[in-house]
């Protein structure tokens, strides 16, 4: 009982965030151009959706502009049988994974809570109560392993969300069960207005891993190939039965918390400018260009894909969705209770 049961040092994160861009890492042209294309689409998605929100077509939009490398890196690292557990800010990750953008935006548009079938797409509902989706990811991952499937769950959470008890409980269960799950913290340094220094005094968020006996890894969240690499390794580790990993990506949201937020109240323009200088799109674009990998075709195709996406959004969100008040009662239980049938009838009476 007197010695440490497990070696701890191997679990601590490297002191510097892992990077691919601007290093001597071997380029992966196919992957990088794919990431580039998705970043271009992703940026356009964020911008178009923000514009539509300003026009009143969505209830609210928490943009991930600036965080596209995390969103796209996460989506593209997943296998088809894996599950994604997004937070309310991760619509883009779902879209980059292939989900119909209009379905993905259902929650934020406001016609229903979840606009898609989570099982069909292996994307859990976008989750609003912070960190509460993390234990779901752990449970689902464990269930998959018990069933003998090689499914891995990737759960996304923000820096603020790491303070919630659910973060702690989820990571602890995952480690004790060696569940095939990966936690990606998008550390964008703010929880609405609250800066990281008021959120935690830890050396880094990745350092939280050791307290659960899982490795913590630190990655540059503006470097899409780096995010993709670190997540791919963590997912492979999980798939191989070696247990969960905690990944911290250092990133930044360029926009306010949501369209309803006034970021000028809590952060300096100079700070935003510093981070904009590390725009994930520019970083990857420049590197591709410098290496001669960004042909006109690639750029053209990416731009067109982005415009198609934007046009689709404008068309679909410009129209009013079909609504049915009867839906309010239809899915509370597998079959409505007598009381709900009464209530549905009374409402039908009024709205007829």
């Amino acid at each position: 009982m007197t010695v440490l049961e497990r070696p701890a040092t191997s679990l601590l994160p490297e002191p510097e965030p892992y990077r691919v861009l601007g290093t001597s890492a071997e380029p992966e042209p196919g992957l990088w151009t794919r990431l580039y294309r998705e970043l271009v689409r992703g940026r356009r998605f964020n911008e178009q959706t923000t514009a539509l929100t300003r026009q009143g077509r969505l209830a609210v939009y928490p943009s991930s502009t600036g965080q596209e490398a995390c969103q796209v890196g996460a989506a593209l690292s997943l296998g088809p049988r894996d599950w994604l557990f997004p937070s309310y800010r991760d619509t883009l990750a779902a879209v980059a994974r292939g989900l119909d953008p209009v379905a993905a935006l259902g929650l934020l548009r406001g016609d229903w809570h979840t606009g898609y079938d989570p099982r069909a797409h292996r994307i859990a509902p976008l989750c609003t109560p912070l960190a509460t989706q993390l234990p779901h990811a752990v449970g689902l991952a464990r269930a998959a392993r018990l069933r003998g499937d090689d499914t891995v769950a990737l759960a996304l959470v923000g820096d603020g969300g790491t303070s919630e008890g659910d973060f702690h409980e989820a990571l602890n269960f995952a480690a004790v069960w060696r569940a095939p799950v990966v936690f990606l913290v998008q550390n964008n340094r703010y929880a609405i207005s609250v800066p990281l220094s008021r959120q935690t005094a830890a050396p880094s968020i990745a350092h939280k891993g050791v307290g659960y006996g899982m490795p913590g890894r630190l990655v540059d969240g503006m470097d899409a190939p780096a995010v993709h690499r670190v997540l791919t390794e963590a997912l492979a580790r999980a798939r191989a039965g070696e247990g969960p990993t905690l990944v911290e990506a250092r990133t930044y949201r360029f926009d306010a918390h949501t369209n309803a937020d006034d970021a000028g109240r809590y952060r300096e323009e100079a700070e935003v400018a510093d981070w904009r200088a590390r725009d994930p799109l520019t970083l990857l674009g420049s590197e591709l260009r410098a290496r001669g990998l960004l042909t006109g075709d690639v750029e053209e195709e990416a731009a067109q894909a982005a415009e198609r996406l934007a046009a689709g959004l404008r068309a679909a969100l410009g129209a009013d969705p079909p609504l049915s008040a009867a839906d309010l009662f239809a899915h509370v239980y597998a079959s409505p209770t007598p009381q709900l049938r009464e209530q549905a009838a009374s409402l039908a009476e009024v709205t007829r």
């Binding site: 898609y116 079938d117 989570p118 509902p125 779901h136 464990r142 659910d166 899915h331 597998a334 007598p338």
Partner: protein
């Protein structure tokens, strides 16, 4: 003859044998068999992957069980005591109760949360809460509570087989009560008349059923013929049976252990009155725990509805005007 704990154990065993998707999670439910021994022997029989001692964190238990249900399993969670289910409240209210609705039915959540509840066992602080109101007031949850060994078995099997989440409240002080186990428990949403009576109806459930039956017996010598209706499930609520009975007798008293203010009896009294107003000779009265935190063991007998308090309410049903 089998105890209620035994009947629950049997229900779990049979459900696990019948469906490999049934998985148990909780604190001390494995090797120990649960602090009330309701899971006794199940880890040995079905393996620790099917009957799992989790880390000590109730939100984590319910949250991971939710994820398991999302993958198609049928988790059955044990909360060790009523008050220790509160840490899982957010998962229950914000996720478990809403998952089906949130996804327009695409993601049903077949999950059972077993909670030993209520007092009368001399438990210290936080070990005797009657928390059913919180669950009744949360749309999307079924709320069941057995008062007999037959219902303990039958309702638990139905809960586990249900495609909806069920909060399954087990009256702690009935765990050791023994009776014949019959195979014919009625379905969810059906109240059962445990004793017919002409003069007034006692509406009750769970741990208070025994008190009501005793009160009805005692009332006989005072010239009152009291019926006793066991609600069995609070959600769904059996308006039909309840109203038919109250309309027949014209008088009703709701009896439960939970605190009265905004408690289960409030809903029961209100809905019975809405539906049976002109059949009522007196207002529906309530005999409940007082509106206080659950008392320490040495004082709990004052708090719990007993035969005297039930009879007192019965005598206040304005008989002079009958």
């Amino acid at each position: 003859m089998i105890s209620m704990a035994g009947a629950l154990n049997l229900a779990l065993r049979d459900a696990m044998a019948a469906d490999p998707a049934v998985h148990l999670l909780g604190e001390d439910i494995g090797t120990l068999g649960g602090v009330f021994r309701v899971t006794d022997g199940l880890a040995a029989e079905f393996g620790e992957d099917r009957c799992t001692d989790t880390p000590l964190a109730e939100a984590g238990i319910l949250g991971t069980a939710t994820g398991m249900a999302m993958y198609g399993l049928r988790p059955v969670v044990e909360m060790q005591f009523d008050a220790f289910a509160y840490p899982a409240f957010e998962q229950l209210v914000s996720h478990v109760s809403r998952m089906r609705n949130r996804t327009r039915g695409a993601l049903p959540l077949p999950l059972t949360v077993r909670i030993p509840y209520g007092g009368g066992i001399g438990g210290v602080e936080h070990h005797s809460d009657s928390s059913e109101t919180y669950y009744m007031a949360t749309p999307g949850l079924h709320v069941a509570t057995p008062a007999t060994v037959t219902d303990a078995y039958g309702l638990l099997r139905q809960a586990i087989a249900s495609d909806d989440p069920v909060v399954f409240l087990e009256p702690k002080r009935l765990y050791w009560a023994k009776d014949e186990l019959r195979p014919d428990a009625p379905p969810f949403g059906q109240a059962v008349l445990r004793r017919p009576g002409r003069d007034a109806t006692l509406l009750t459930y769970g741990p208070a059923l025994t008190v009501c039956l005793e009160a009805a017996e005692a009332a006989r010598s005072r010239g009152f013929d009291l019926g006793v209706l066991d609600l069995r499930t609070l959600v769904p609520f059996d308006d039909e049976t309840v109203c038919a009975e109250v309309r027949r007798t014209g008088r009703a008293v709701v009896v439960h252990e939970a605190t009265g203010f905004a408690g289960p009896g409030a809903e029961i009294a209100a809905r019975v009155t809405e539906r049976c107003f002109h059949h009522l000779a007196a207002p529906v009265l309530r005999v409940t725990g007082f509106d206080i935190p659950y008392p320490p063991p040495m004082l709990e007998r004052h708090h719990l509805p007993d035969v005297d308090r039930v009879l007192d309410a019965v005598t206040r049903l304005q008989w002079e005007e009958a």
